[in-house]
C-alpha cells in the first residue's frame, strides 16, 4: 500500500525520530500585540497560533452566565494550512474541535471569578501536519497564562497512537493517516487529571492503556517546555527592566 515504510527495522520513523520521541517544539509567548494573551507553537511542521481576549463584556448580554465567565473557543484552519485549499468557512470537524478544545481548557480556568463576562480563545492553524488540536490546546493554555487569567494548572496535550503495529508518540499527518489507532490526550500535569481523551480506531484494553501512558509521558515533556517558555518570556523581561 505504501511505497515506503513509516517505521524501519531499528524502530526509527520516517522523520528520524524514535518511537517515543516528540517532534521538535518551539514556543513563543505574547506574539500578538492586540490580544490580551497569545502564544505560538511550532511542533514539527504543524504551526498554530492562539489568542485570548478577556475577561470582557459578553455580547449579546443575555447569553452571559450570572455565576461565572463564559469560555468561547474557535479552532480554525487557515485556507493555506493544508495541501488542498480548505474553505475558510468552519467545517463540521472544526466546530467539533472547537467544542472539544473548550472542554479541555474549561476545567483549568477559575471561571467563577469573572461572572457575566466572556473569555474568548481563538486557535488558528497556520500549517497542519498532524496533532493540531493538541498543539492548539498547549498554545491556548499558555495564552491564558499570558493574559493573566487565573488557572488551576497549565494544560499540556499530546497524541499517541499505533502505527504499523507499534506504539508511537506525537503522530505526524502521514502517520495519522496510516495509523490503526490514534489517541489525543490533554492533561493538567501537576494535578494529574485528564481534560481531553479521544480515540480514533480500534485498540485492545491493554494496548489502550499503554498508549495512554505513552501520551501522558509526552504531555509531561511538553509541560516542561511550556514552563521554560513562560520562564524565558517573563524572567528575561524582568531583567531588561531592572538594568
Amino acid at each position: 500500500m505504501f511505497s515506503r515504510k513509516l517505521i524501519d527495522e531499528s524502530g526509527i520513523r520516517a522523520d528520524g525520530r524514535r518511537l517515543d520521541e516528540l517532534r521538535p517544539i518551539k514556543l513563543e509567548i505574547g506574539v500578538l500585540s492586540n490580544a490580551d494573551g497569545s502564544a505560538y507553537i511550532e511542533q514539527g511542521k504543524s504551526k498554530v497560533i492562539a489568542a485570548v481576549y478577556g475577561p470582557r463584556e459578553l455580547h449579546p448580554k443575555h447569553l452571559s452566565l450570572p455565576d461565572r465567565a463564559m469560555l468561547r473557543c474557535r479552532y480554525h484552519m487557515a485556507p493555506f494550512s493544508v495541501e488542498q485549499r480548505k474553505s475558510p468557512a468552519p467545517s463540521r470537524r472544526e466546530m467539533e474541535l472547537s467544542k472539544v478544545v473548550r472542554e479541555a481548557l474549561e476545567p483549568s480556568i477559575f471561571l467563577e471569578y469573572y461572572p457575566r463576562t466572556s473569555i474568548d480563545v481563538f486557535i488558528e492553524v497556520l500549517e497542519a501536519d498532524g496533532g493540531t488540536r493538541c498543539a492548539g490546546i498547549t498554545a491556548a493554555s499558555l495564552a491564558l497564562a499570558d493574559a493573566g487569567i487565573p488557572t488551576r494548572d497549565l494544560v499540556s496535550a499530546c497524541a499517541a497512537g499505533k502505527v504499523e503495529g507499534l506504539f508511537v508518540l506525537d503522530l505526524t499527518d502521514a502517520e495519522d493517516k496510516a495509523s490503526e489507532a490514534d489517541v489525543p490526550l490533554a492533561i493538567m500535569p501537576n494535578l494529574g487529571s485528564i481534560t481531553l481523551l479521544q480515540m480514533d480506531g480500534m485498540l485492545t484494553l491493554d494496548e489502550f492503556q499503554s498508549i495512554v501512558e505513552l501520551a501522558v509521558k509526552g504531555c509531561k515533556q511538553i509541560h516542561s517546555i511550556q514552563r521554560e517558555a513562560l520562564k524565558a518570556k517573563y524572567v528575561a523581561v524582568k531583567e531588561v527592566v531592572e538594568e
Binding site: 490580551d36 478577556g54 470582557r56 463584556e57 477559575f110 493574559a147 493573566g148 487565573p150 514552563r227
Partner: protein, 186 residues
C-alpha cells in the same frame, strides 16, 4: 523543600502545604497543597504565615466603584445615556464595558432632558457609583467630571470652549453640555 520566596512559578506549581502557610492572592488550595494560579514570583510572608504571588502579568481590569472612567456616549434618551467605557483610570481596556448615566446623577438640580448634558459621540469622564451585576452606574456630579470632548450636532466639527460657551469653530453653532473642568485638555 519546594518553591520559596523569589522563586518563579507558573500556574499549577506547588508552593507548599497548608500546614506551612495560608494561601494568599494568586494562590489556591487543592487537596492540602498551596498552588500558584498565575505566572509570577512567590513571596512568603513568614510573620503572618501567608504565601502569595507577585504577578508577572495582570488580568484585564474592571471598572470598580469609585474609579474614574473615560468613555464615549453611545446613545442618549430623555432620562439616561449609555456610555461605552474605554478607559479605567489611566489603563486602556482591550474591549469595552457598558455604563449607564442617569439624569439624577448629573448634579445640577433637575435635569429635564439628557440632551442638554451630553450627546452621542461625546467623550465623557465619569465616576463609577455602582457595579452590581456588571451594570455600571456612572455619575458626573463633580466639577472635574463631565464631557471632555464634544462634537457639533450640526456639522460634526469639534466644539471648543470660548467664554464659558461651547461653540463650533466651523459653523458657529452654540451647544449645551455638562462639561468637566478639563474640557479639551490632553
Amino acid at each position: 523543600m519546594h518553591n520559596r520566596s523569589g522563586q518563579f512559578v507558573v500556574p499549577g506549581d506547588k508552593i507548599g502545604v497548608i500546614e506551612e502557610f495560608a494561601s494568599g492572592p494568586g494562590t489556591y488550595v487543592k487537596e492540602g497543597d498551596v498552588r500558584s494560579k498565575i505566572v509570577g514570583r512567590v513571596v512568603v510572608d513568614l510573620l503572618n504565615k501567608r504565601a502569595f504571588i507577585y504577578p508577572s502579568v495582570r488580568a484585564a481590569s474592571f471598572p470598580k466603584v469609585g474609579s474614574v472612567i473615560v468613555g464615549q456616549v453611545q446613545s442618549v434618551q430623555s432620562k439616561l445615556a449609555l456610555i461605552r467605557i474605554m478607559k479605567v483610570g489611566k489603563r486602556q481596556l482591550s474591549g469595552f464595558f457598558t455604563g449607564v448615566l442617569h439624569a439624577s446623577d448629573i448634579g445640577q438640580g433637575l435635569i429635564k432632558n439628557m440632551r442638554d448634558v451630553c450627546l452621542a459621540g461625546d467623550i465623557i469622564q465619569a465616576k463609577v457609583i455602582s457595579e452590581k451585576n456588571m451594570m455600571y452606574h456612572l455619575s458626573i456630579a463633580e466639577r472635574n467630571l463631565g464631557v471632555i470632548y464634544a462634537f457639533c450636532s450640526q456639522c460634526g466639527y469639534n466644539l471648543s470652549l470660548r467664554e464659558r460657551e461651547l461653540r463650533c469653530s466651523r459653523c458657529g453653532n452654540v451647544e449645551r453640555r455638562k462639561i468637566a473642568l478639563n474640557y479639551g485638555v490632553e
